[in-house]
């Protein structure tokens, strides 16, 4: 089943995302689809929302979505660790993998520190952001980079080269 709509994809224990189901939400002028698939046993979680998208429901716990002009959140339990925007995104609820590309920006909810990159993968099992392509980290007072590749915790408390995370 393929759904083309404005959607919200949820993964993990986000409080507003019902696991293992796809449903429409009421929002004037748009059709929103929420998808949740992976139970909350993994350390990380995320939600993704897109302006244009296609969703593939392949099974009860296997939903994937591709979207344009995406935004969303990286979560730890019910707590938002960071918010992201990107030109496009791809999400899979079975693998828990979130891939963003094009003008990716992740902003820490804690202190406003933000990371920019050309591409980003968030691995739900590792609970790590893996950013590639002119990766920079900005705060109000300093900038770090550009790096070819950086790894970060979802709230951007720790950021480093891949070797520092054993990758």
């Amino acid at each position: 089943m393929i759904v083309s709509a404005c959607l919200l994809v949820g993964c993990g224990s986000a409080p507003d995302v019902a696991p293992a189901e796809a449903r429409s939400a009421d929002e004037p002028g748009t059709t929103r689809v929420q998808i949740g698939a992976v139970e909350g046993r993994l350390p990380g979680a995320w939600t993704m929302e897109a302006e244009q998208s296609s969703v593939a429901l392949q099974g009860e716990d296997d939903t994937s979505a591709i979207g344009l002009r995406v935004s969303g959140q990286l979560l730890k339990g019910d707590k938002i660790e960071s918010r992201f925007v990107a030109a496009s995104g791809e999400a899979n609820t079975q693998t828990g993998r979130l891939e963003l590309s094009g003008e990716v920006r992740v902003t820490s909810e804690r202190d406003g520190v933000y990371l920019t990159a050309e591409r980003l993968v968030y691995d739900k099992e590792l609970a790590l952001i893996i950013a590639e392509g002119r990766v920079e980290v900005h705060s109000a007072t300093w900038v770090s980079g550009p790096f070819d590749r950086l790894v970060a915790t979802p709230g951007l408390e720790r950021v480093g080269t891949p070797d520092r995370f054993g990758l």
């Binding site: 007072t141 980079g145 720790r158 080269t161």
Partner: protein
Amino acid sequence: MNVKRTLLLVAAGCGAIALGLQQQPQKYVLINDNSGGFKVYDVESALTSFAPGGDVEFEASGRPMRGFSKEQGLTFSANKLEGVAARTGQGSFRLKEAKASGGVVIDVHSEDSEGTSDSHLESASVTMKEDGDSTNFTFPSAFVFANRAVTPEVNRFFELRAPSGTFEMPLLDRASGNKIPFKNANVPGPVNIVINRVKKQADGEYREDLKLRADRLTFDGATRRLNLEGNIVYSILTKPTTGMGLDVTFTSTRISIPFLENGDIGIIEFGIGSATVKQGGGQ
């Protein structure tokens, strides 16, 4: 030249090109503050943590990695460095703490209307920590410390080489103009010291070159005296403006060298010893 040999040469050429194009490790800027006053760069590997108050903790390595803090008048390079960059009221950062290893080089510059003071440190391993109005340095391994103070009256150079030691220096501040490089020091020996000074006098310049070796060095901040103890060998070569100078070698168990406010050294006190004196070093 046969075909096989030609192919071998072509293959060897390709190998050489491939070696020449071997990818160099990328060097990155780890921290660059918006004011341009603090930077950590030439980093190949790093881990950064952001503390809630705005301080940045980092572990970084490079060959070497480098950095500077303009407010502190500080530049540094090392193969590895764990540090804390603390935010300042001026919107920049200071290197508040550092544990550096591998070809560590630290330079500190300060100046005021009276003149300049430049310190240079080299060691395989250094720790540095700011504490109140002091900056504490520990050298667990052999190190070189040099300082040059320049004022309109005197140009004094001091160099110390020792197997290990600890220093308490004034808080690093580019604008302090401190001409005395340390507040306290404790350096087990053997220590080797070189002091050169050129003093301007009414009739020209007076030059003095001192070399000392001792078993132990301490610097007493209260009296601003550099105290040397044990098996001291001291040699001094003076070059006065006119006439012959002196070349003196002195042995003693104790020597005390006062540092003056302007960075010059005062009258040296000697313990009981023996001396050999000969003419030399004249103009």
